[in-house]
Point group: D2
Chain length 359, copies 4
């Protein structure tokens, strides 16, 4: 088989498993065909600005367990959508130009929904693109799970576990804000895993009166404390999701949405009980990937190499049941996998007494 | 709806998630119908010998994160198959008698393949039985995953990670024996997650010459060390699986099969390089369940309560894709879910350079 | 020996090791003399308000690894000093009255500096008191280390570790706010353990210009990122420590001092590089105690029982070198063990290139 | 100050904190004087055989959290004492010759008791040597603690914790063999931290009758299980420590002493209760150092650099109380810091009901 020259980039927020996945792509490519691998620095920004270098085989060894990404990442160009709209054609043209300059046979992009949207755009422009579904939010359409989610779940659950002892010892209400702006998967899983009493998700708008009622009910049952797991994008049914800018407390941007502080304040005001907020923030996306994520990332990466071998481009890799499969980029780009409001997970939560603040 | 009286037992080796699952069954039962719950002590042994007590609602709180089982467990009656053959009718009769004596409407059994075999037997005898698939081996037929597996994977992978530093520092061959007599799921996943160089499974008979070759190839590539993950039931293609009794080194039973020591010995003899064996043993099944296992156990437990509500007996709970479903006990009893020799996981392993000792 | 009736309370913020220490006091007391143990609820508040109950031997089993405190805790009465000043005599009188009502031979108080101050007050009023030094801040005078500190160090270091991968992947400045209002022990240790580049402590007033210089120096050396570990009570040499009330961003109290946000804002403004803040907050004091803290708590608790046996009251337990010893309450009450500005730990930090923002 | 050329080697079993300590020596040396650093491969073996290379500043970055040793290690030459005796002069001469060939101003050796013995020998031969006390056994004379011990304690305690759930669920006796041939520090600390019921140490010869009695007493108290933490070098008062060769069960060397199996066998025989053995083995010395060990290693390493700056050779670094100090090599070489049989830790253990098998 002819030589294949593959560009790889990682885009969006960093996420456990990126390096394991890069390693999978690279090792399997070297195994399956005559591969040359080009590392593109800091996501699409590097593709636009032309920052890359050829990598050597040895660079992909020993990175299975390493957190973050050896390629660097950035949120450009989708961070500020308006800028993109203005410059879109140019940015895309730069990316196409650089793709040619690098003499790539294929571009592999590891990222979340924004990354896949751009990947699809590039595919429609005629580039050979393969996507890989990375995000701690687990909200990429068409795959049962994304890599990074399990690790983030472990971390967020450890936070809920630790807060339990403080809540119990002090007889407090604890409000824990968990990452997830649009999708509540991480909050839902970590809330169930940590034994949270109230779980508030973007997909299930809550009313404060129901939250207060749930706390009161626990107090009447003699419980000293209540744990609330709230997604940063949780929606108050009356007020809507909080705007981040409303809540800029200070001169630097905060790593939380404010929704947790507003709720905590109202609970203290209404019920007069000591209420504290915990915002684990970026620790949810850092560190070595969990065992499951290492395996998933490896499977995904090696599958991508097979797609390249077969010149089966315009696809993204996914897990369906126990099988790794491929979806067409155009079928999944621009979509978000949300928690269905009748999800069996929510039903399970209700059956063990969790309140979702909606009734 | 009329009152339902439910007996619960946990059988077989202890496993993370048992208490979380018991809690799910109990809390959802109290929520869904007028439930009375009877805890049966030490698995089927307690059912045979009539050791049980009525439990209170409060006993199911605070056990989500607790390792082991609050009900106790035992390997009877399937531990020694010959004894069962002789006594089978009587044991079954005792169980039926006690089921009636307890005035149960349903018996919920949490366990692995042996447990499900007995559960099916009791269902065929006319008892209302629901099974729940617990095992760190992940080898129950009809479910994508069992609870306990993910936690064991985390532990086994942590072992492989730690051994990496010793192997590298000393320039050694390290042989790590991982639990799994018939099925190699745990060894396969932990081997891939920990970056093992050679993975030996019950499902893929190995030849020592290929193992030695794989080590030599690494040495020629300048690698100081080799990590071998071997299942306790791994099969040497020439000699077959080692018999435990052959390997009783001493007066007390050992917690390992000996297959690892035999292999290590042969490697030292043939290649003259320092080789060490690590047998993590029972720590693979102990401790608090992982976040994923807590959620899975809770989903399984609450689903079982729904089956009871619907009087849909003779079933066991399973995960298929992202959905919890029910399988008929008779469809899965007596079967074992093995790693297919053409498993995509094995293919992924081969593509990143793992040797399975078979070529 | 005559019967001894012992009251135990835990006061101040919850802290890993409290239950292990209570267990040590109780088990050793039962072993050493004819003990009766009275559990006082929620710290001094329970002593003032008369909330207690006699405990049974079995209640002290199985709590070695349990986070938090089975006795509950509260920050009264020293939380609001003015209230204390007004009511002081009465509160003390209530405590003395209840001590008599409970017929105690000795009161054992587990807590930090505030707790010890009150303990000393009660000792001066003629009660038999024994103190036990608990705090994640490690700032109790007269002991090399307090229990809880090692566990908090593990947690805070894990946070710094995880943030490293995000910082590196995104090329960011990360500011991590670690607990410690007066004493910087936790920030200093976690900063060194996590490889922080800049460490800012209450004991070493910093100037922003030196912080900015240290970041610039790293950038000139080609480093993509900088990690700053800052104590919540870190002092800006120009402005002094930030007042919490200045920084009430919102309606509910925040779990951080704001010093981290102010610094992050100034860095972004001055250097134009993406800067993020992480405030792990209460997770630093939650969860199961570390192995070291379990041993230390047990040693401290059993030593307290020996002091009671010997009627050697008015003391607090301490570690000096490898030995557990006793200090007179009056010698340590009202003092705080700060990090000396010429501490060998700071010198070690400087030698490996850490900036303390003071030069 | 004139240039200093420093050789570094790590010797003996690998141990968490070696890289953190190497980093401390190197970074502080570059800071304090004009340093050149030579890495000697695989301990004294590399010094004897002349395997070394000059290292660059960048190689000492990013290794703080890395397990094992970047320099490699080996147990030569002290593993087989007889060989040493025969060859001693020659080996020493080779080391002296290579020291000169490398043009070293100082040799820094990181290791345990064997390493220090050799270091002292070389110092007596006129070389400038600095020792650094590394060992998970914590048995180096003259220091309160060695680096590596705290990490091993965390791992061993995690093992005891996990075994607790199995023991309790199955109602078993569990015998856990913990590393430590001569000194029982690790077993003693992990036993206390994990809540072991019986702790058997090399320093406190045990009699099986007392072990059996302790188990029986627990059974009479209604306890379902017993956890025994036994050091690999634990001494049976009647029979003495087990010889490893007596217990070679098979063709390859086992990573345990056999003392645990013999005891387990006798318990099953005498009491008829299910007894299982767990031998965590090498995992006790692998993986990333704990937070405490990273700080301690860094302090020790930077202190060594100060000794070199001051040309204060023939010393080893130690912790006394809260201070890092230096001991003369000749004062500590050939000695072992054992657990005193009247240790306060043992007393504390007895007071909470632990049996040491000696009464």
């Amino acid at each position: 088989m002819a030589k294949r020259r593959i560009g790889i980039l990682t885009s969006g927020g960093d996420c456990p498993g990126l390096n394991a996945c890069i390693r999978g792509v690279a090792k399997a490519s070297y195994e399956l065909f005559d591969a040359e691998i080009v590392g593109i620095q800091d996501g699409y920004r590097g593709l636009i600005q032309g920052q890359w270098r050829e990598m050597e085989r040895g660079e992909f060894s020993g990175i299975l367990t390493l957190g973050g990404t050896i390629l660097g990442t950035a949120r450009t160009p989708y961070r500020n959508m308006r800028v993109i709209e203005e410059d879109e054609v140019n940015k895309v043209e730069e990316m196409k130009k650089n793709y040619k300059k690098m003499k790539l046979d294929c571009l592999v992009t590891l990222g979340g929904n924004g990354t896949h949207k751009t990947a699809n755009l590039l595919a429609q422009e005629g580039l050979n693109v393969i996507g890989l579904p990375k995000t701690i939010d687990n909200d990429i359409y068409g795959t049962d799970v994304t890599f990074g989610f399990h690790t983030a779940l472990d971390i967020a659950t450890d936070v809920v576990d630790r807060i339990h002892t403080t809540a119990n010892s002090h007889g407090r209400i604890m409000v824990i804000e968990i990452m997830g702006n649009k999708a509540g998967w991480l909050t839902l899983y970590a809330g169930l895993a940590g034994g949270a009493d109230i779980i508030l998700l973007p997909e299930v708008p809550y009313q404060e009166k129901y939250v207060l009622e749930a706390i009161r009910r626990r107090q009447e049952d003699g419980k000293r404390f209540t744990i609330i797991a709230i997604a940063e994008g949780a929606k108050n049914a009356q007020e809507g999701a909080m705007k981040k800018k409303e809540f800029r407390a200070s001169r630097a941007e905060m790593p939380f949405s404010g929704v947790s502080y507003r709720l905590a304040h109202d609970i203290e005001n209404e019920l007069g009980c000591e209420t504290r907020v915990v915002v684990p923030g970026h620790i949810q996306r850092g560190g070595s990937p969990s065992a499951y994520d290492r395996v998933l990332s490896t499977r995904f990466g090696t599958y991508a190499a097979q797609l390249i071998r077969d010149e089966d481009y315009g696809k993204t890799v996914a897990l369906r049941g126990t099988q790794v499969v491929a979806n067409a980029l155009e079928d999944i780009a621009g979509k978000t996998k949300l928690v269905p409001s009748d999800s069996e997970l929510i039903t399970a939560g209700r059956m063990i007494g969790v309140s979702f603040g909606d009734e």
